[in-house]
Symmetry: C2
Subunit: 340 residues, 2 copies
């Protein structure tokens, strides 16, 4: 058990000063050829690596970015992390992951914890509770201290920072237009309550397309789930009571609950009813029938977010502030839950 080599030890061992060692290892011209070689050889032999913490303190940057997400046991978020990680690692950054579990308090705690020197900046998707409370002081505080923040997916206008989102309205429009094009007339919508921004936006897309195509909007065909834990039975009720020839669901789970309900009603997917989901996860790919979905490209979002953040971090302070919002395109992935 050898406790990690430091510059000081090398210096003592080789009978030179600490700064000589440091400079030799960084190929400074101040150090003579011979000494430099000797020091480098020694360092290599004993596998010297500079201490990151000391470097962080000196340079006032940690080369670490924090990512705070509502939950990790969730396909979309894992793909985002994956994207962040890839770009971050390429650029020599580490990634600290924290979970808010959709709790406002834990989000605040995590942010405070990491803001005290542990990370250079944040990538964050807001907790549901935070969006309900509309309390963003913890975020503004962090940005006020000069730490860059990139928001993704769950985003609010009140916070001035870089953002990475998808065009939820457009994504929904693509999906519903597709259903109309395939001949569907009565398209049901399974969405969430409006304070969840994505639910609201996707609902708007649904409504817009119907209007653009002069299809009458029937409020009875719109279901807004309040209680996530009870979504399965709510959806079953909805399907049982209404006659639809297509369903657009704002996420994977709602989509497969809809399919279950439709099948239990004695109808077939996609022959009798087409179903489209949102967010392309494991479930969509493997389910039988596999789901036609609007893909959300989490990995790309993560990569974009990381790029935005690192850009800010490595920019000279002279350059003026400006905030960008990157919109990642959605695609409709055609599979077997919609008729051809």
């Amino acid at each position: 058990m050898k406790p990690k080599l430091t510059l000081k030890q090398i210096a003592r061992e080789l009978d030179v000063s600490i700064s000589t060692v440091s400079k030799a290892l960084r190929d400074s011209s101040e150090i003579g050829e011979e000494t430099r070689k000797k020091i480098k050889a020694f360092a290599k032999l004993y596998n010297y690596r500079p201490n990151n913490i000391a470097l962080s303190l000196k340079n006032r940057k940690t080369k670490t970015i924090g990512i705070i997400i509502p939950e990790i046991v969730h396909y979309f978020f894992t793909t985002v992390i994956s994207g962040v990680e890839q770009v971050a690692n390429e650029m020599g950054y580490n990634v600290i992951v924290c979970l808010s579990n959709n709790s406002f308090d834990k989000e605040v705690l995590n942010l405070e914890m990491l803001a005290n020197g542990s990370t250079d900046g944040f990538i964050l998707s807001m907790a549901k509770e935070t969006m309900q409370k509309e309390d963003y002081h913890h975020l503004t505080e962090v940005t006020n201290q000069g730490m860059p923040v990139v928001l993704f997916d769950r985003v609010v206008d009140e916070i001035h920072c870089d953002k990475v989102i998808i065009d939820d309205v457009l994504g929904a429009k693509k999906a519903v237009q597709y259903l109309l094009d395939k001949g569907s007339k009565k398209i049901g919508l399974v969405s969430t309550v409006d304070y969840v921004s994505v639910g609201k936006l996707r609902t708007r897309g649904y409504l817009e397309v119907l209007r653009e195509n002069n299809v009458e909007i029937d409020d009875k065909l719109i279901l807004k789930i309040e209680d996530m834990d009870n979504s399965e039975t709510e959806i079953k009720d909805f399907i049982d009571k209404n006659e639809v020839d297509a369903v657009f669901a704002v996420n994977e789970h709602f989509a497969i609950y809809a399919i279950k309900a439709i099948q239990e009603k004695g109808l077939k997917v996609p022959e009798d009813v087409s179903v489209i989901g949102f967010t392309d996860g494991e479930l969509s790919k493997r389910f039988i029938p596999s789901l036609t979905t609007v893909s959300q490209h989490g990995e790309r979002m993560g990569a974009e977010a990381a790029r935005l953040l690192i850009d800010k971090l490595e920019r000279k302070p002279e350059e003026e502030e400006s905030y960008r919002t990157v919109i990642v395109e959605t695609n409709l992935i055609e599979r077997n839950s919609t008729k051809l």
Copy 2:
């Protein structure tokens, strides 16, 4: 944009020395009542928080643990992270997540990166490539430096450290015994090649139970998948060619490919053929029919791993070294892919 308060600034502002500020904030009896109150009030007002990096350097501990996993877009690993995070946060630790993408080189890189002061210890599940190469020098090097490591799931005997695993043999035995109890006679096995330790162990469990029950072992009923990318067609072939009344698959995906193949063959699950999987993920729960599986309790494994690690970290150095292996129990979760 105010750039973060330090002890030095408080000291200057209040016209006392840095050490006085530090001591006052830590309620040292050396500091007079009045000064202490004044300093505390000031610190509170301007929301002083000690700099973590400086503390890390001073205390030679970071209160951060690193977790390196083969991939994150994978239900089991996310549940593990979730478990680690929970315990770590409770104990005041942060979690750095790194992905090896099953690559030996990236595992080494990540480990080196984090070992230079960024973390106090590691929780790790080995990359597939590492297990093939059987090269563990990067791990032994880290443990030699006195950094605790906890291995989970993919584990090897060669490395001396704490471990968290499930009893794969027993889990498999439970599953196969269950099938036998329900009257299955010809039980197929869909496993992986033997260098993946879990595949080997689960296969052993399958074989043991059959022997214990005096059921003849038919090698034709055992499929070992070589190429993961081609698993679906391999499984389809296997099901088409063999007559089985039950299938035990060593993971979720294999299980649902088996179900697909069975259904395409014109048979019904579970009426004609029962299927049991391993690892309880999203897919198992939502698939139709939902899957009977051996649950792996990732969250519990993560929590155990975190506890083991933090235990080591906070133990006095005098106490002697000893390594524990925690075996997390598996349960059979009965759902709809097996007959009642």
